[in-house]
């Protein structure tokens, strides 16, 4: 049944695309072959293995041209029996923002004009935690931590019931089996409905063509993660999908100088994250919105 449906859909799509192509022959003939291919590229989850390989080859060539580096583009799938979860110990965070810049570097965010960041560190006056209205996003003292303040890093909380996935009109964003919410940057139409829907400001938009200096680019990338993006597509934290699926920690966990950040498999009873949930007093941001986030904040003891 499902199969039949699929073929019918395929058929209608091919028919319509052929018609579309026929109508727009003069238009398309003014485009290069590569542009035409980009235009007609399928949704990542509907590509066959061969089609994926073709797209990867095309991207490798393009990135090599653009950045003068040989890229490793992975399409590695989720590991079995994994559901990634994150722990963040608020009493340790000193607000140094090393995670912010470590993330920018690892994940090939646009550097200048504008600089995109997937992690935001909020500075809160002691005595208030839930009401973020009085938070300061652009604090810049000579030295952190400052007296009388605590720091609250926020990034995509990898909700188990993500509002952004629900609202996307074209299925350009979805949840992987290991719980990571990813974006097909080539399928996103740039409507920014997901940005409006996210309660954590976990998504940022490429308002302009991303700008990454050649010498700073990270050539070890995942197709659904840190590969260089294009203008007017949305992007977000993927728990460093390119690293965690290879058994490494996310960059922010590694770079944190105070051990504030913890990471692990929620389905593994012996993981560090499970230890934290079982023994510490954890809470999740905006739990009242029922997003079932997998990002646990906690305090020592």
């Amino acid at each position: 049944m499902r199969n039949k449906d699929f073929t019918r859909r395929e058929f209608i799509r091919n028919l319509s695309l052929t018609a579309l192509a026929g109508v727009s022959v003069p238009l398309l003939s003014s485009c290069t072959k590569e542009e035409t291919e980009d235009f007609l590229q399928k949704h990542f989850r509907e590509m066959t293995k061969e089609e994926k390989q073709g797209v990867i080859a095309k991207l490798e060539e393009r990135y090599a041209r653009q950045y003068g580096r040989k890229f490793q583009i992975s399409t590695q799938e989720a590991l079995p029996d994994t559901l990634w979860g994150y722990g963040l110990e608020l009493s340790r965070c000193i607000g140094c923002r090393r995670c912010v810049y470590g993330c920018v570097k690892e994940n090939n965010q646009s550097r200048r004009a504008p600089q995109l960041q997937w992690i935001r560190v909020l500075r809160l006056k002691r005595g208030s935690l839930i009401n973020l209205e009085n938070s300061e996003h652009y604090y810049s003292p000579d030295l952190v931590p400052e007296k009388g303040f605590i720091y609250l890093p926020v990034q995509c909380q990898q909700c188990q019931d993500p509002p952004c996935v629900k609202v996307c009109p074209v299925h350009a964003t979805w949840q992987e089996p290991d719980g990571i919410v990813v974006v097909d940057y080539n399928w996103c139409i740039g409507c920014r409905y997901c940005i409006a829907a996210c309660p954590y400001k976990g998504r940022v938009f490429n308002w302009a063509e991303p700008d990454i200096p050649r010498e700073e680019v990270n050539p070890s990338v995942h197709y659904l993660g840190n590969r260089p993006r294009m203008k007017c597509a949305v992007e977000k934290c993927t728990f460093c999908i390119q690293r965690v699926r290879q058994g490494r920690y996310p960059a922010c966990v590694e770079v944190c100088p105070t051990g504030t950040r913890k990471f692990g498999n929620l389905l593994d009873p012996n993981s560090e994250i499970r230890y934290i949930i079982d023994r510490k007093r954890v809470f999740r941001l905006k739990e009242d919105l029922n997003t079932e986030s997998k990002f646990y904040y906690f305090f020592e003891t």
Binding site: L132, P169, V170, C191, R192, Y200
Partner: protein, 432 residues
């Protein structure tokens, strides 16, 4: 075969005559159309710049990620939905004076929908991937995403509002009685559809718990109430212009009837707003921040405050004008009231609705958004496009309605041709 040939010939004839009709006009008509074309051209130039640079060319950012475009979109969906206000009394209750102008009202709705769709298109970052949204061709997230619903609802409504008036006009053109069994179901369907497009648009914002300002269950009713003020107000003004520049006889009575409906709708609109303000200010939870930003200013950021109070003053003044029969039934005050409503509601449910949804943002950041020149120019371009479409539609629809543009001339000519041919046959057969 011959019937088909005839139909084709008839259709071609109709098109040719329509084109001539559209291309010929007085000085005012040419001046008006050229003005609109110039504005459209300027808007297009600015849009191409945005397309080239990306949305960075606008003043939107990650804090306020929707701006003037989506504000205009929201307003125009409302204006389009309002056409139903004319449909209900004219078709269902057979209220004669409105019946004559309902076709024009529906064409107005169609033009508004085109504008609304254009505003969404220019807001899309990747217009090249627009086809991902097309059902069966792309991969539409239906029924999960309200934006998918909106695409279907808006296009469905556009289809209805083109089908109904065009069908009726063609029947008028041929002096035939419309087949009511065929068209009445569509007319009746357009009533719930009008409510549906605006409800879906309200739900699009309404369903986001991340944005408490929009996450109020009163939103959809408020949307409908404000739409039923602004849409008919625009229509009242347009009909007076039509009456001036053409031979269409529009009775004042019809305008006054519409204005009475506007009075009711404005009462509802103000009442629903008051209910919302009461709830927010009396309970005074953290969710009041957006309201404070809009009505009082928040932490020294108060750029929307003068706008919203201007809108409030306009809406209340207009309500009083439409409440008192003496002012409602005088064209001067009626037009003043319409103008106040058009601007007041635009502020209230355009920028005054979209922007506070993003301020403060979910992490408490306050960014004051002001559209830039490019956004203004692109918006003007789209408004001009809608007006041009409406003008051209009117140029054809009005003469059909008044009976100046009909099939008769053609029939006579074919008869003549036929007679000549007969005569020629007789001559050649040597009967003379």
């Amino acid at each position: 075969m011959e019937a088909l040939q005839n139909t084709l010939r008839e259709t071609w004839h109709f098109y040719r005559r329509t084109l001539t009709l559209v291309a010929k006009g007085g000085k005012v008509y040419y001046a008006w159309c050229s003005l609109l074309l110039v504005i459209i051209f300027v808007g297009l130039v600015f849009y191409l710049r945005q397309h080239d640079a990306g949305l960075i060319a606008t003043h939107m950012n990650d804090q306020v990620s929707w701006g003037l475009y989506i504000a205009n979109f929201t307003y125009l969906v409302g204006a389009a939905a309002a056409a139903v206000l004319l449909v209900i009394p004219s078709y269902v209750y057979h209220f004669k004076p409105i019946k004559e102008i309902v076709v024009l009202g529906e064409l107005f709705a169609a033009s508004s929908i085109v504008m609304a769709i254009l505003f969404v298109m220019v807001d899309l970052g990747r217009i090249d991937r627009f086809w991902h949204l097309i059902p069966f061709v792309g991969s539409m997230n239906f029924p999960q995403s309200l934006l998918a619903w909106d695409v279907l609802a808006l296009n469905g409504y556009l289809f209805l509002n083109l089908l109904i008036p065009i069908y009726l006009l063609i029947k008028f053109y041929y002096h035939k009685e419309p087949n009511w069994k065929f068209i009445l179901p569509f007319i009746l369907l357009s009533i719930p559809m009008a409510v549906a497009i605006h409800t879906v648009t309200a739900f699009l914002y309404n369903g986001l718990p991340a944005r408490p300002f929009w996450n109020a269950s009163i939103l959809a009713p408020r949307f409908l109430a404000s739409a039923f003020c602004s849409g008919p107000a625009i229509i009242i003004l347009i009909f007076q212009i039509i009456r001036k520049v053409s031979t269409v006889k529009l009775e004042d009575e019809a305008l006054f009837k519409i204005s009475e409906l506007i009075g009711y709708a404005m009462f509802l609109n103000l009442f629903l707003l008051a209910s919302e303000l009461y709830k927010e200010y009396y309970s005074h939870t953290v969710h009041i921040e957006a309201f404070e930003y809009l009505f009082q200013g928040l932490h020294g950021h108060n750029q929307l405050v003068p706008w919203i109070w201007t809108a409030m003053a306009m809406n209340v003044t207009a309500f009083i004008i439409f409440l008192i029969p003496a002012t409602r039934k005088r064209l001067l005050t009626l037009n003043l009231g319409c103008l106040l409503i058009i601007i007041g509601v635009w502020i209230e449910k355009g920028p005054g609705f979209v922007i506070p949804g993003f301020v403060p943002d979910p992490l408490g950041e306050i960014f004051e958004y002001v559209p830039n020149l490019l956004e203004l120019m692109v918006s003007f371009g789209i408004w001009a496009t809608g007006l041009l479409i409406f003008t051209l539609l009117m140029k054809v629809a009005i003469p059909i309605e008044t009976g100046e543009f009909t099939h008769v001339g053609y029939v006579e000519r074919t008869h003549r041709v036929e007679e000549e041919r007969q005569a020629w046959k007789q001559i050649s057969s040597g009967k003379f």
